[in-house]
Symmetry: C2
Subunit: 138 residues, 2 copies
Amino acid sequence: MKNEIAEILKRSQLSVTGSRTKILELFQESNGALAHADIEKKTDESYDRVTIYRTLQTFVEKGIIHTIPTADNSIRYALCKDECSTGHHHDNHVHFICDECGTTYCLDNITVPEIALPEGFTQKRADVIVSGICKNCE
Amino acid sequence: MKNEIAEILKRSQLSVTGSRTKILELFQESNGALAHADIEKKTDESYDRVTIYRTLQTFVEKGIIHTIPTADNSIRYALCKDECSTGHHHDNHVHFICDECGTTYCLDNITVPEIALPEGFTQKRADVIVSGICKNCE
DNA sequence: AATTATTTGCAACATTGTTGCATGTGAGTA
DNA sequence: TACTCACATGCAACAATGTTGCAAATAATT
């Protein structure tokens, strides 16, 4: 388990450090999306706020996690599936955000439909954000 | 023109004031999405920051504008089409955000495909965020 | 024109995110 | 294992963004 995490970090040419290991662990456990604030809480404030910001940035750059667009202004992050990092294709994500509890679910099994863009527009990425009430809040 | 704006405000039971008229005007002109910062600039700082925040909140509540989810955390707003305010149906929006210049386009002519949600999830709204390079930046 | 309800601006604060720099730690090498 | 160097961390200070309470100003109603 810890080994697996170390592997991921090394593959991305990142040093294996306490904060990175811990944060990656959190993502694997949570199985959903995390915002900066969530991570701060779950790590019990053992890491500096700045470190968390930088770790998240690094992870995004290396393609380990990706951001999820939200309408309230809190960036959320989720683990990338393997395909993300290949770069051979569009990054497509479907997420569900609960209006009630704010939990963000990755709906990986659903495919993003193709969107026909007007002339001159190039698509790099497509996100579908469905919001409403989740199964725990109904 | 000004009359039309006053009409919209009255229909929502809002007093017709300088800031509200001006901000609504901006939305009608821009024909795209605006963030708080854009509005501050375009109004030449003649209105207090707080007023702009509150005006935007009010407009959202009244269904005059809607928020657009973004991955950088800056909330953007755009005018609602008439259907928005009826509430008889899902609110569906397709937007294109340019990675280069940040301009947000509303792609109203494109329909959001139906997303099949897992059991227990209720959809209130669906946003499709396509990002990439727009026609001006290619 | 006077009254009332609403809106605005100010001040103060809270939250979120960024940058520079000194210190500490991990990874590679002798 | 000890040494070196690159990189990661924490701290401090700052910048941007958003919120709240309250008094003054303005719009709507009579």
